[in-house]
């Protein structure tokens, strides 16, 4: 694989006395899906928010395309090409798909909205992701199903030529068929050469789409393993105990005092 598009080195983050992230190292490669798993409170969402610039990090380095960068806010992240698809979707119900996809970055011609241009671009993007479930790109978001909304939110990231897409539990509230659609879409994002980080609780989803699994355990990176090298059970052990056989954090009794 080519050089990592996003690299975290020794990220630390505390909220007051609570040390949430301990020396996190993580690399995200273009064209790969990296699953970020961990129990509740392991620090998955905090890590994503640190990358997205919502929380400042206490220490550690962030390299984007090999260059050290400082992400101070969501705008910095967006400018670099880091896009986050949040669990609670950031879509306006009263606007249609095109309007939502271009929200905040409308294309204008002579000061006026260029509707036809935006509509064509939105359609092209959805088509490039082989999204077939939406009847018309002028459908109001309020009349879309949960899966379709998720699709629109993800397609928005692609439209803006992002390089890294962070998905925070994109399938959490979806049915079987809709989960299918979204997972296919996640795969296609990677095929388009984007670096994808997928947070999920669902092991089936993780094994289906991820190339690499990063397990967080109580704020530490327990292990980063290839999804083909481990079994279901090993990952569950990593999540719940922080180690599984040789993998993961060393046993406390083995550590020298």
């Amino acid at each position: 694989m080519s050089e990592p598009i996003l690299e975290l080195r020794g990220i630390n983050k505390s909220f007051g006395p609570v040390h949430v992230l301990h020396d996190i190292d993580l690399t995200v490669n273009p064209g790969e899906v990296t699953a970020l798993v961990g129990d509740n409170g392991a620090g998955k969402s905090t890590l994503v928010k640190c990358i997205a610039g919502i929380h400042p990090t206490d220490s550690g380095e962030v390299l984007f395309e090999g260059q050290p960068t400082h992400i101070k806010g969501p705008r910095d992240a967006a400018e670099l090409g880091i896009e986050v698809v949040y669990q609670d979707l950031a879509l306006a119900d009263n606007l249609d798909i095109v309007q939502n996809m271009f929200l905040g970055r409308e294309r204008t011609k002579g000061g006026l909205l260029d509707e036809t241009d935006m509509e064509q671009a939105a359609r092209k993007t959805l088509a490039s992701l082989s999204v077939r479930t939406v009847k018309s790109v002028r459908t109001q978001v309020s009349s879309l199903s949960g899966g379709q909304r998720q699709t629109v939110a993800i397609a928005k990231a692609v439209l803006w030529n992002s390089k890294v897409v962070l998905l925070d539990e994109p399938t959490a509230a979806l049915g079987v068929a809709q989960t299918r659609q979204v997972l296919d879409l996640v795969r296609r994002l990677a095929e388009q050469g984007l670096g994808v980080v997928l947070i999920s609780h669902n092991m089936n989803d993780v094994f289906e789409v991820a190339d690499k699994i990063a397990c967080l355990y109580l704020g530490r990176m327990a292990a980063v393993v290839g999804s083909k090298d481990v079994t279901h059970g090993q990952v569950v052990e990593l999540i719940t105990a922080g180690r599984s056989g040789d993998l993961g954090i060393a046993r406390p009794e083995a550590a020298t005092i």
Binding site: A92, E106, L113, R123, T125, L129, S130, V131, N161
Partner: protein, 483 residues
């Protein structure tokens, strides 16, 4: 941009991909073929059944009211009364148009009525005292007034609302320099004072974070008091100026009326047809051409009939001649067109809808939510000032009750009756016009039927209640129909 997209499309043609992207585009077949008239009608009907009523109930109500009052009263459907109707409804309609912006965010501006009274009083004082506001208001009041204008400028600059800052600055300059009275200057002053009031309201709501209901309820009382202070208990400020008098009472001449007709219908046809054919050319879904032409034709015929009727002599006696389209018609039309344009065709308008629909989504999309929230109050108060000019012109004076009473309630009512949602995110400017027409007809028709004020109030209130229920029910229906 297009080259990037092209490259992006190419990258998808990996071996695992079964369908090439070009094939996938055909999946939006419904978007690329033009609809037949039948499909377009069925589409519209499906949307109505799904709870997207828009201004349909108000339009139906309008027709029913026209029929009822025409059959009950001999004088209702006379030329003189119809022109009168337009002039009576104009001020409410204009204030309602400003309120639509506020309602789109799910906020409310209860102070728009009395704020309009303040602008009317300042305008009248400037006129009567020949530009000497210091003399007209007294020292203390004048300095407080100027202080508030400075405050408005500072707040607007803080929030980067440049138009609000500029208008407040103009108001301050007019007040301080003391230019002699001139009708146009007075009207400009009124609008600028309105903008300054909106800056203060908007800042309190958007930046300080007090709920708009409370802020504007408090300011409703404050501005009511200010009007009393400016005019004096029991006093009345007469507006003896032909230009100001003509705003609500004058008419375009015969030629002017037909020029207005040509400009309005021609402009509408040009805009609609340009967009229609540009969509067809680019292969985007469009309504059938015949339907678009039929719409334009119907509008042209309707406008022609109205213009013709209004250009006939409608004077009650043979001694004078009253004819032509009242000035308020082009005034409302211009505000409607400009406002609709801003809402539909600019990023600002899109952001207003987005903030009204989902504030958090708008914030994450990088929209400055606070700025949008403040700006709508500036627009509402400025529009209220224009409304104030019209209603003051209609009666020819400003009294301590200017903008108080039911001015505000009728304006909010007009917007809601027309189909603007109180929950935010849904509504158009034409709603205010249609709703304003409904209310004007009720007030006018009931008056002609010699109904007591009690009945008029009750009926108006019930109509508003009905409109709000339709809004709430259609919203519920839309929510259940969604998934």
């Amino acid at each position: 941009m297009s080259s990037e997209e092209a490259s992006m499309t190419n990258t998808t043609q990996t071996p695992e991909q079964e369908t090439p992207p070009q094939g996938a585009i055909s999946d939006f077949g419904i978007d690329t073929t033009s609809q037949s008239t039948g499909e377009a009608v069925r589409d519209y009907w499906a949307r109505v059944r799904g709870g997207e009523l828009g201004s349909l109930p108000a339009l139906l109500g309008l027709i029913v009211l026209l029929i009822v009052f025409s059959s009950l009263s001999d004088t209702f459907f006379t030329l003189g009364n119809l022109a009168n109707l337009l002039q009576q409804g104009a001020s409410i309609t204009i204030i309602a148009m400003g309120l639509v912006f506020v309602l789109l965010l799910g906020e409310i501006d209860l102070s728009a009525g009395t704020a309009s009274g303040v602008t009317a009083s300042v305008m009248a004082l400037h006129l009567i005292h020949n530009g000497n506001l210091l003399g007209g208001m007294g020292d203390t009041v004048f300095y407080v007034f100027c202080g508030l204008l400075v405050l408005a400028i500072v707040l607007a600059v803080l929030m980067k609302i440049w138009a609000g800052a500029a208008l407040s600055l103009i108001a301050l300059l007019i007040a301080v320099i003391g230019i002699p009275a001139n009708a146009w200057l007075e009207m400009l002053l009124a609008v600028c004072v309105g903008a300054a009031i909106g800056c203060v309201t908007g800042f309190l709501v958007a930046k300080v974070g007090i709920p708009s209901f409370v802020v504007t309820l408090a300011l409703f009382l404050v501005w009511g008091g200010v009007v009393l202070q400016l005019i004096g208990q029991g006093g009345t400020l007469g507006l003896r100026d032909d230009t100001i008098f003509n705003v609500a009472n004058g008419n375009l001449n015969f030629v002017g009326s037909w020029v207005l007709f040509i400009v309005a219908v021609g402009g509408y046809a040009a805009v609609v047809l340009t967009r229609h054919f540009s969509r067809l050319r680019k292969g985007l879904v469009a309504q059938p051409t015949s339907l678009v032409l039929a719409k334009i034709g119907a509008l042209a015929v309707l406008a022609a009939v109205i213009t013709y009727a209004l250009s006939l002599n409608r004077a009650p006696s043979n001694l004078i001649v009253i004819q032509g389209v009242p000035y308020v018609v082009p005034l409302v039309l211009v505000l409607l067109v400009v406002g609709t344009f801003v809402l539909d065709r600019t990023s600002y308008g899109r952001h207003v809808y987005a903030v009204g629909g989902n504030k958090e989504a708008a914030r994450r999309a990088g929209i400055n939510v606070e700025r949008i929230r403040m700006s709508v109050f500036v627009i509402a108060s400025s529009a209220a000032a224009i409304g104030a000019i019209v209603y003051s012109s209609k009666v020819g004076s400003v009294d301590p009750n200017a903008g108080a009473g039911n001015t505000l309630l009728l304006s909010v009512g007009a917007a809601v009756i027309g189909g603007t949602s109180l929950f935010g995110g849904k509504g158009r400017l034409r709603d205010a016009v249609i709703g304003g027409a409904v209310l004007a007809i009720i007030q006018n028709g009931m008056g002609l039927l010699k109904q007591p004020a009690a009945v008029v109030f009750i009926v108006t209130g019930l109509v508003l209640l009905l409109a709000a229920s339709v809004d709430a029910l259609s919203r519920r229906r839309a929510a259940t129909a969604a998934r």
